[in-house]
């Protein structure tokens, strides 16, 4: 399957059509349609248990759909030749703890028949991963780095990462974001899952939101930002009037207690800031777009 992009014929990296995979109660995915564009970083966002891992494991043929079709790089993930061109990092990555990191990479490279030792060495050096160590002795962060190296060492055309930063300390998280940026610059398509909105905002071009096995929305990141809810807490020198804020564009909920304003804003914050600036401001705290609030939004949308 191909699409015309920039006059060049490009294979659609991921295409799910009517995919259903259920494990009984509240797990799995339902009638999923999804297409990832060549060269984009696609964030697959949803709370834990929403069906992210189920989707991802279908992309590498570890599990198979009950209904619908899964297409990866124009073929079936059952085809070994297709899987060879995909890099995959599982959510809870497990290794052979007694092997050295280097031996493990050699083994995986051999199974792929596509080597990649040289790239693995270079990449490991750059992200400060000691390949001579026994995997069992590596920290969680270093094991995650090893997982990334094995997913990237064979220069895959599609990289599929299941919660790549989950449980990592912020420094390693930044490392992961940098790697994703580089992949994007090289034109590699990335499909990654997350339950953290800010992370998706940081790296994704487009976002798919999944809830209870259903794809609720697929949007450009900009459009999503427009919908995101932010909470502001402003402390003034003097007590303002609620009326100054509650009808402003984007303000959804406002509340004044003494000299403190609490409000929620959807999308643009320009009007609010200008109204706030008319007063002497002692402090301003903004809570970033909250994923739960965002999901609540979609709930409301469905009920209306």
């Amino acid at each position: 399957m191909s699409a015309q992009v920039g006059g060049e014929k490009l294979t659609v990296p991921v295409r799910l059509a009517g995919v259903t995979k259920s494990y009984g109660k509240a797990r799995g995915v339902l009638d999923l349609d999804l297409e990832v564009r060549p060269g984009e970083v696609f964030g697959y966002l949803g709370p834990n248990g929403a069906g992210k891992t189920t989707t991802i494991r279908m992309l590498v043929d570890l599990i198979r759909p009950q209904q619908g079709t899964v297409e990866v790089l124009g073929g079936s993930p059952r085809d070994p030749a297709i899987r060879r061109r995909v890099g995959y990092l599982p959510g809870e990555v497990e290794f052979y703890s007694r092997m050295s990191a280097r031996d493990f990479l050699t083994y995986i490279g051999n199974l792929r028949g596509r080597g990649g030792d040289a790239i693995a060495e270079k990449l490991s050096e750059r992200i400060d991963l000691d390949l001579s160590r026994r995997i069992g002795d590596l920290s969680k962060g270093n094991r995650q780095k090893l997982g990334l190296v094995q997913a990237l060492m064979h220069e895959p055309e599609l990289v599929v990462l299941d919660e790549p930063t989950s449980g990592l300390d912020p420094l390693v998280q930044q490392e992961v974001y940098r790697l994703l940026d580089e992949l994007k610059a090289e034109g590699v398509t990335v499909f990654f899952s997350s339950h953290v909105l800010s992370e998706v905002e940081r790296v994704a071009d487009r976002v798919g939101i999944i809830r209870e096995g259903r794809l609720v929305e697929v949007e450009e990141l900009e459009a999503l930002r427009q919908k995101a809810v932010r909470t502001f807490e402003v402390v003034f020198e003097d007590a303002p009037h609620l009326a100054e804020f509650e009808h402003l564009d984007g303000v959804r909920m406002a509340d004044v207690h003494g000299n403190v304003l609490h409000c929620q804003v959807v999308g643009a914050i320009d009007e609010l800031l200008k109204a706030v600036a008319k007063h002497r401001v002692r402090d301003l705290v903004s809570h970033g777009a909250d994923l739960e609030a965002l999901f609540l939004d979609y709930y409301r949308g469905e009920e209306d």
């Binding site: 009517g18 259903t20 494990y23 009638d31 494991r57 590498v60 043929d61 570890l62 599990i63 198979r64 759909p65 009950q66 209904q67 619908g68 079709t69 070994p80 030749a81 899987r83 060879r84 995909v86 995959y88 599982p90 809870e92 990555v93 497990e94 290794f95 052979y96 007694r98 031996d103 050699t106 083994y107 995986i108 051999n110 199974l111 792929r112 028949g113 596509r114 997982g147 094995q150």
Partner: protein
């Protein structure tokens, strides 16, 4: 050793295999060292054995009409009647259960199967590793008997030694393949070890007691242990038919394993068949 799944699996098993080797070698050497004492005090031992019930002797693999005091009878009674087949069978069960179900439970299956390795390749190479490991154990038993012969005069013709060892290897491969099939079909290592160990223990008793309990006598041929030693290969050499039964069934189990893994979801902790492409039903 990192070139493919079979070699990698053997590499992973090298430590545990080493201890199995040490154990069986030590046991056979110890038994061999004991032989001259038994031979030189035959009368006293015969008197002792008189006091044992036949059923007990059967369970430890001593046939009532067997001569226990020539080297072959002695080795049959002390090693090939029970310790050797049980070691090969247990080793087979443990390795067969670990083969695929173990990797699924450990979670390592994800990275391995996301490569271009096929499911067919995974299962058959795991089987190959099992066969090779059992052969290593077999070679060690063969060598131990050769050492016993030189050091302690437990003289057993090389051909008979090889025949008995081959049957033990086939028995181990039989149970290993059964465990591999069950483990590959279910993805559950613990369940597999339990079920196949139960089958092994049951069929072992069935075969041992078959000579004494009339009801069980007719059922002996359903026990793999029957094919292992009914023909007494240590004394009479290889019974090709019995060898083919064990080897043939092991291959059947391999095929079952290969078929079972084709349609399963991997690493989901249980039996789940994936039913491909029922798009019409999706509406």
């Amino acid at each position: 050793m990192l070139n493919n799944v079979a070699l990698k699996t053997l590499r992973d098993r090298r430590r545990s295999l080493f201890w199995w080797v040490v154990g069986i070698f030590g046991y056979l050497l110890g038994i061999g060292a004991f032989y001259p004492i038994v031979r030189d005090n035959q009368g006293q031992f015969e008197a002792l054995l008189e006091t044992y019930p036949d059923e007990l002797l059967a369970i430890i693999g001593v046939g009532s009409e067997e001569n226990l005091f020539d080297p072959i009878g002695f080795m049959q009674a002390e090693a090939f009647g029970w310790v050797v087949p049980l070691v090969f069978a247990i080793y087979g069960v443990v390795q067969g259960a670990r083969a695929v179900a173990g990797e699924e439970e450990d979670g390592t299956i994800d990275l391995v199967m996301a490569t271009s390795l096929t499911r067919f390749g995974l299962v058959w190479q795991k089987w190959l590793a099992l066969v090779l490991a059992e052969l290593v154990l077999g070679l060690v038993v063969f060598a131990s008997l050769a050492v016993d012969s030189v050091l302690f005069g437990v003289e057993i013709p090389v051909g008979n030694n090889a025949a008995a060892v081959l049957m033990a290897v086939l028995l181990g491969v039989f149970f290993g393949s059964l465990a591999l099939a069950v483990g590959t079909g279910t993805g559950l290592r613990g369940l597999t070890v339990g079920v196949v160990t139960f089958v092994a223990a049951g069929t072992y008793l069935l075969n041992s007691l078959g000579g004494f309990v009339e009801l069980l006598d007719a059922m002996q041929p359903i026990s793999p242990f029957y094919y292992y030693d009914a023909s007494n290969p240590l004394r009479h050499g290889l019974d090709a038919e019995h060898a083919l039964v064990l080897g043939g069934l092991a291959v059947v189990f391999l095929v079952i394993g290969l078929l079972a893994v084709r349609r399963r979801d991997l690493g989901v902790g249980g039996i789940r068949l994936a039913v491909p492409n029922m798009r019409k039903a999706a509406g």
